[in-house]
Amino acid sequence: MRIRVDPDRCQGHARCYGLAPELFEVDDYGQSTVIVDEVPTDLEEKARLAVANCPEFAVEIVSE
């Protein structure tokens, strides 16, 4: 699985980081980025939660 954060949509709610700090980091200004190329299999559920909880619909699954 590959995921991304759309930088134009992200407003810094940081819900993705809260749910899956292994997959995301947030800079000082609230911008989230994905820090893995491939989501490890055991973290796929967390990735889906991050997608499902972003209030800005900024976290996307690129490929499964």
Binding site: Q11, G12, A14, G18, D27, Y29, A52, N53, F57
Partner: protein, 443 residues
């Protein structure tokens, strides 16, 4: 300095007043107060679709049932009370309007506008009038750079450093009443926490916490009362003018000193903007989180199954915090319509207000399964308690941390508690909803 102060006060009054066109729909000659809540001039609401009032006693105690009735039939009710205002209740409308900053400006964000015609300085056109409380009461480009200056102070990493202070504070408060068998969870606990953390961040004396709280309540909670509103505004601005002056002489490593030091495009930031930002951080950091902590404790006091589950399964806490924020979102912010526009069949006029009802959006069944139920382990929860779009609450990481720590510490010390049957719970509402008095007894 006197001129600056005067300009600032005028600006501050106008800030909580309204409108781009300066009109007022309702006279305000009759004022009375019941249980500390100012009454509106026109009496109880009989038609919520065309004449709503967010300060109506029914709305203050139970807005949820009103939203649920309106949402399917009239999802954007209107009122002419105080000011021609619209109030979207659906998640999709609230978030769409929040993202349309071109038609919905943040220059006036007060939910309870004042009485411009009663303001002797209403026509004053001083330099500070246009700045408001940036970034919350501004649009790009002012919003963009002022927000960027504040964000690092409330980043995840920075907020982590405030955890020990917050935890100590909660423990000290609990030490004060844990053995007594009862407490006012709102006044003795929730109200005491965020104001002291924000005082630390601003670098102002935490001993003045009660004074700060009084000013903020005057400005937000009692905004219908012109005298209290002005008293709060003057208190806040006089205080910060003095603080800023002191920091010019003796800079520290606090937020105020940093704002005074900062240059933007080679220039120091205008004094009016620094003052507005300082006042914003205090105002936004006090009432809001205190209300969230109070509402959450009310929920846990009245829902023993949830309370016991949270004690038993503390790993649920981060998700539970998001769920409590969704179910009891404290904050409604206003926008001003910038030009006549038809939005979803509503003929909005330039200068009308739109009350961004984030709490109602978070209870929209189209966006949340069984929104009326608090589900501590809710898997999908795109709540907008902190707003949506470019004005997402800059302090959301701090608020979330304070709420979590406050609940953890309370439940660690007082796992069993319930609402005292003989004492009334009072709720504040309008801009910020939460319990102001919440007597609980410990088992």
């Amino acid at each position: 300095m006197l001129t600056t102060l005067r300009n600032s006060l005028v600006w501050f009054r106008r800030q909580s007043e309204d409108g781009l066109d300066g009109t007022h729909a309702e006279p305000s000659s009759v004022r009375s107060t019941v249980k500390g809540v100012p009454m509106t001039p026109t009496g109880p609401v009989t038609d919520w679709a065309t004449d709503f009032d967010v300060m109506d006693p029914h709305y203050l105690s139970d807005p949820f049932s009103i939203w649920d009735v309106l949402r399917p039939t009239c999802p954007i009710p209107h009122t002419n009370r105080r000011k021609s205002s619209w109030m979207p209740l659906r998640y999709d409308d609230v978030t769409a309007i929040a993202h349309d900053v071109e038609h919905f400006s943040s220059l006036k964000v007060a939910v309870i506008p004042g009485d411009e015609d009663q303001d002797p300085n209403a026509n004053f056109d001083g330099p500070n009038l246009e700045y408001g409380l940036p970034p919350i009461s501004s649009d790009p480009p002012l919003h963009t750079w002022t927000r960027r200056l504040l964000l690092p102070w409330f980043s995840h990493k920075r907020v982590e450093t405030y955890v020990p202070l917050t935890r100590d504070l909660c423990r000290t408060l609990l030490d004060g009443f844990a053995d007594k068998g009862c407490a006012d969870a709102a006044a003795d606990y929730a109200q005491q926490i965020p104001v002291r953390v924000i005082a630390h961040i601003l670098g102002v004396p935490a001993e003045l916490a009660d004074t700060f709280t009084g000013w903020v309540r005057d400005v937000l909670e009692f905004a219908d009362d012109a005298e209290r509103r002005q008293h709060g505004a003057e208190g806040l601005l006089n205080f910060f003018l003095k603080q800023l002056e002191e920091r010019r002489q003796r800079p520290g490593d606090d937020l105020l000193s940093e704002l005074l030091r900062t240059e933007v495009d080679g220039h120091r930031i205008d004094d009016g903007i620094v003052l507005g930002m300082a006042a914003l951080v205090l105002i936004a950091g006090v009432d809001t989180t205190w209300s969230a902590i109070g509402s959450s404790l009310w929920h846990l006091a009245t829902h023993p199954d949830d309370r016991r589950r949270l004690v038993r399964e503390p790993e649920l806490m981060p998700g539970a915090v998001e769920e409590l924020l969704r179910a009891y979102s404290p904050v409604t912010m206003a926008r001003v319509v910038t030009e006549d526009i038809d939005y979803a069949g509503c003929p909005m006029k330039k200068g009308d207000k739109v009350l961004m009802n984030f709490p109602a959006a978070n209870r929209d069944p189209a966006a949340f399964d069984h929104p009326e139920l608090v589900q501590l382990d809710r898997a999908q929860n795109r709540h907008v308690a902190f707003g949506s779009g470019i004005h997402r609450c800059a302090g959301s990481n701090l608020a979330r941390m304070e709420l979590q720590v406050a609940l953890e510490e309370w439940l660690g010390r007082i796992p069993e508690f319930s609402v005292a049957e003989d004492r009334e719970i009072t709720w504040a509402g309008g801009q910020v909803r939460g319990p102001r008095s919440l007597s609980v007894v410990f088992a």
